[in-house]
Amino acid sequence: MSHGLRRYAPGYTGMLAACVVAIGVGIPGKGHSQSLEELQRIIEQQQAQIEAQSRVLDKLQKEVEALKSQEVVEAPGKPGDPAEVPADLIRAKGGDKVSVQIYGQVNQALLVADDGDSTDYYTVDNDHSSSRIGIVGDAKINEDLTVGARMEFEYQVNPSNVVNQEDKQPGADSFDDRWVDAQLTSKRLGKLYIGKGDTASNGTSEVDLSGTAIVGYSGIQDLAGGILFYDENRDDVSGTDVGDVFSNFDGLSRRSRIRYDLPEFAGIGISGSLLTDGGDVALRYFAQWADWKFGAALAYADPQAISESIDDQYSTSASILHSSGISFTIAAGMQELEDSTRDDPMFYYGKIGYRSRFFQIGETLFSVDYMYSEDQARNGDEGMVLGFQMVQDLPEWGSEYYLGYRWHELDREAEDYGDINALMTGVRVKF
């Protein structure tokens, strides 16, 4: 456009000059000479103005061209692609490398439990891995630092570890904030968490590579933890349930805490967390080579923030999986109690598993497990569990179908409790 104006400008001034000359020739004299000079001055002023406008237009055109080229670079992609969002808006939302994801699952099952006197069935939310929804995001600040946040909420209708003979549908649905957490990760210095989430020791009793943990692992109480032992002497249910007798002392669970993980070295991770009172430290090791995959964890916890009766708590577990599909898992834990009249409770646990692809649809996984516990609910209590688990993975459907069975026995002095047999079958559907 400016080039057009510049081409046009000489013609315009030339015409004006011709008019001026014509006037000057037709009207001679001093007065006419003054008019001619005046006109020439006006023409020169107008010419200067036109040239100034032309320069401004040149600048504007260059700026428009520069903006057009930036739009091409910064907004590539298909319609609907997040990259179409203007770059300034992206940066304002959290940096040049940002990710926000939503995830979740529904895990529903049928639980059938027999206490030696009667058989009841329950529709439950499987507490081995409960129904939940979460959102997680992180933004890379620079080559070393990443800032992240995670919120995860569990919503359970009839949790499998709560229902029992006297309360088949616990009144209030269980709504729990599992994670409300901010995280700062440095490649060189490690990871810092603040908020509610896993304590360092959480999961240290539960390392399990069998793949059947959805329906059976060292957390025995997750399958039928609320079911009450039947007291044969009183001919009524007792006040002791499966969860009272078979805890796996799995650290401090998820709590509001400050947690720090050292940078991982050769698969070894060391972490610690600080609660309002007490805290914990944990050591983890995960590695794979050739045909083997191995994981182990060990933790010490000072559970002052969650219990006044426990002084110290120790937990450990290890699991190994061979490429043939065979796996072995062990776990153990104990507590030292404040009350000197109470014996320190303990447990140990073992599991053998096998996984193979018998069908095209996905892997089929089997395992058998065993737990022995002592002094957990009362001095002298001895508990024993035997179980069987089967899981059919259906990756095409984002689902797993499972079946688990457990036999629970409690020996208590001067009491006669019936054994509890529990069967659970259900499906976990991942969003």
Partner: protein, 79 residues
């Protein structure tokens, strides 16, 4: 603590054994997902990823020039 000793020794023994075995061939660490967490793998609705990525930007893009940079560029003589 006495009753826990066998299990701790077994765990420690297995770890040492496998670490030693790892010395002959360099082991690789892997991402372990705790049993209670949502496991990796495809989802029914989300497909292969197993998660809905509602927002993601990973590619490095050249930053938009500031007003000062634009002015300098405009005032620079044409090549």
């Amino acid at each position: 603590m006495r009753c826990l000793l066998p299990a701790v020794m077994t765990t420690a023994g297995l770890t040492i054994l496998l670490l030693a075995a790892g010395c002959t061939k360099q082991p690789e660490s892997f991402e372990y997902t705790p049993v209670e967490e949502v496991q990796p793998g495809p989802g029914l609705f989300s497909g292969e990823d197993g998660v809905f990525t509602i927002y993601e930007k990973t590619a490095d893009t050249p930053p938009r020039p500031s007003a000062e940079e634009s002015k300098e560029r405009l005032e620079a003589p044409a090549p």
